[in-house]
């Protein structure tokens, strides 16, 4: 029974190693809560319900893009009432969600997606500033 310290020591080391990911997670402050999103600038409900936007905003954007560019029809009729001018910068960002960095980016960074739209589309409020700085920040 003289190797008891060795056994318990080994067991402790084993447990520490196998639970390492959890400790690392706690240390870096990862939660399952998701990112803190800045509220939409003005409207509470924009073109569609929050649930729909969460799950399908990328598909909606593709639909809007095709409607505006390929069909030449820049007006989108929202789920509620009201017609919106299709514009990623002017409507999605400026009118509805305010800042790209505090809304889109926060969630995308969390989810690990990086849509390539911003190499062409401008961030609201960056119209006169340094365009190159904006791109490298993304």
């Amino acid at each position: 029974m003289r190797d008891r310290p060795v056994i318990y020591g080994g067991l402790a080391v084993f447990l520490a190693v196998i639970t390492l990911p959890f400790w690392r997670g706690i240390e870096s402050g990862v939660t399952t809560k998701g990112p803190e999103l800045a509220r939409p600038a003005t409207a509470r409900q924009c073109v569609a319900s929050t649930e729909f936007m969460k799950s399908s905003h990328m598909l909606l954007l593709m639909e809007m893009r095709d409607q505006a560019v390929r069909s030449g029809d820049p007006w989108y009729v929202g789920a509620g009432h009201g017609t919106y001018t299709i514009s990623l910068t002017g409507t999605c960002l400026e009118q509805c969600h305010g800042s790209k960095t505090e809304f889109c980016d926060r969630c995308h960074d969390y989810a690990g997606v990086a849509p390539g739209c911003w190499s062409c589309h401008l961030d609201a409020g960056h119209s006169t500033g340094s365009l190159t700085a904006m791109r490298s920040s993304r």
Partner: protein
Amino acid sequence: MNLSRKAFLRVSCFSLLGAAMRKTAAAFGSTFSRKVQWGMAVDIRKCARRPECTACIDVCDQAHNVPRVPDKRHEVRWIWKDTPEHAFEGEDFRYSSIAKLPVMLMCNHCDDPPCVRVCPTQATWKREDGIVAMDWHRCIGCRYCMAACPYESRSFNWVDPRPYIKTANPEFPTRTKGVVEKCTFCVERISQGREPACVEACPEKALIFGNVMDANSEIRRMLSSRDHVTRKPELGTGPNVFYLL
């Protein structure tokens, strides 16, 4: 299956004929059934009253975030100025009164655009209203369209354009390195019922925009009352930018 040689030949002949008819009908149909074909008339002499004026170029570049790249090899242009000799290659201007006048050039929005034919992704296509439009989301930067265009109306973004845009217009996206761009007759303004930006900006009203399919439009009245030329008509592309002499 039991098919006699005669029946086989008959069936093949009819199917070939059918296919050919469809092609022919499609080719003619698209030109003749068009109700709207936007076009532009450029009054060379009116324009030349202000030889230093660049109002149309400036307003276009500003509206569409066209970069001003100093390196000529990487130049991006939607509407630009050239000499008659370059614009109308093959013409003899030695004794002509317009020999020294500037000529505004842009995409001709051809009836039968060669760029559209060669584009492998339909990133450029001819709209119902005759505009040869661009979908930058589809452009893969192959530059077939640039090789096909006989008017050098298309530019490639060899470098990131953003450093060369002084004050960006937030209403229009920029482009990125690796895509082709050109004049779109301001589709974004046309959908709002407005004229192209260059037409609005010209202090001499030297640019006349309108539907060339409408015999009562201003542009058609202009074209029927004055002599005019188009660029390289012998190629059969059917340009819709006309130069009033």
